[in-house]
């Protein structure tokens, strides 16, 4: 089983990298880009076959290490593989 984890900045948290990307897109001539927020994407292959147990494990991983919940939100899905 694989966990696909997405980590994003919370609303209201300044994202200077997203801002720089937005400026670069504008410089390239892409118009109408209203906002860019940058995040992280992490794939984790798990030995666990039981979905409920896998979910509990990934939840704990997000809480303890993968995301800093002061500034970040996380979301994940479990897929075969």
């Amino acid at each position: 089983m694989k966990a696909l984890v997405k980590i994003t900045l919370k609303n209201g948290v300044l994202d200077p990298q997203g801002k720089a990307i937005q400026n670069a897109l504008a410089a390239l001539g892409f118009t109408g880009v209203e906002e860019v927020r940058q995040g992280k994407y992490i794939e984790i292959r798990l030995a666990e076959a039981n979905e409920a147990k896998a979910r509990a494990a990934v939840e704990k991983m997000c809480q303890e290490l993968l995301a800093n919940t002061v500034i970040e939100n996380y979301a994940y899905e479990l897929v075969p593989g």
Binding site: V13, L14, P16, Q17, A20, L65, L66, N68, V70, I71
Partner: protein, 230 residues
């Protein structure tokens, strides 16, 4: 005063802070590798500057969960003073010993220069030899020093007087122009409610003797030596 400096893979100010402490206190400093299960009994634990674990994931995130940090957190909670400088401040936040987080500098640039700091509190182990409100010059060198916390946390820090150091201009005004990284409230250093745990982005160990170009950082170490001498 017996001090221990924790060394993570990627720490690069560990020897600087060791040399500064030894020069001021005259007592050898113990260096503790991150994989060790415990820190020897000491009066002060220092988390040095650097780029622990290559700043992977988030600055300080990996280091905060390394083997030795379990004991550092336990000892900190039991009352051992802990000083985190630069990457050490990031680690203290990631380990939950201090609130908030240090984000990428608002300019997106690595900032390496001297800054002016106002010493807001002198009743701490680390700042007792400064005058309250004194403006001092200390170098910063970081890409992620932009202090962020939610509004309630900031209010609490201010209400409890836990902002120990603030970025100011030469005359002591906390203006946006004096802020090198975008930190909220121009925060350069904060302490825990007991004032035994201090995290700061600037590097006092880089300005502790005249050969380095100044001595404004020296009194940090003299403060610690005086308070923790017994």
């Amino acid at each position: 005063m017996k001090a221990a400096v924790i060394v993570f893979p990627g720490s690069n100010c560990d020897r600087d802070v060791k040399v500064a402490i030894e020069a001021v206190t005259g007592t050898p400093v113990v260096m503790v590798w991150h994989g060790q299960a415990s820190v020897p009994k000491c009066d002060l634990i220092v988390l040095p500057g650097g780029f622990s674990y290559g700043d992977y994931l988030r600055c300080g995130a990996m280091a905060a969960h390394s083997a030795v940090m379990r004991d550092v957190v336990a000892k900190a909670k039991a009352g051992t003073p802990v000083l985190g400088i630069c990457n050490g401040f990031q680690i203290l936040c990631e380990a939950g010993l201090l609130p908030g987080v240090l984000q990428r500098n608002a300019s997106l640039r690595f900032v390496c220069r001297d800054v002016w700091l106002k010493v807001e509190r002198t009743d701490t182990i680390y700042t007792s030899r400064y005058a309250k409100g004194e403006v001092i010059r200390i170098p910063v060198a970081h890409g992620d020093g932009n202090y962020f916390a939610d509004a309630a946390t900031l209010d609490r820090l201010e209400a409890e007087g836990r902002v120990v150091l603030r970025y100011v201009d030469e005359t002591g005004r906390a203006l946006p122009e004096a802020n090198p990284n975008g930190s909220q409230h121009n925060i350069a250093g904060i302490c825990d409610p007991t004032r035994r745990i201090l995290g700061l982005m600037p590097h006092p160990e880089r300005l502790y003797e005249p050969l380095l170009g100044g001595i404004d950082g020296r009194r940090f170490f003299e403060s610690m030596a005086a308070t923790l001498a017994a």
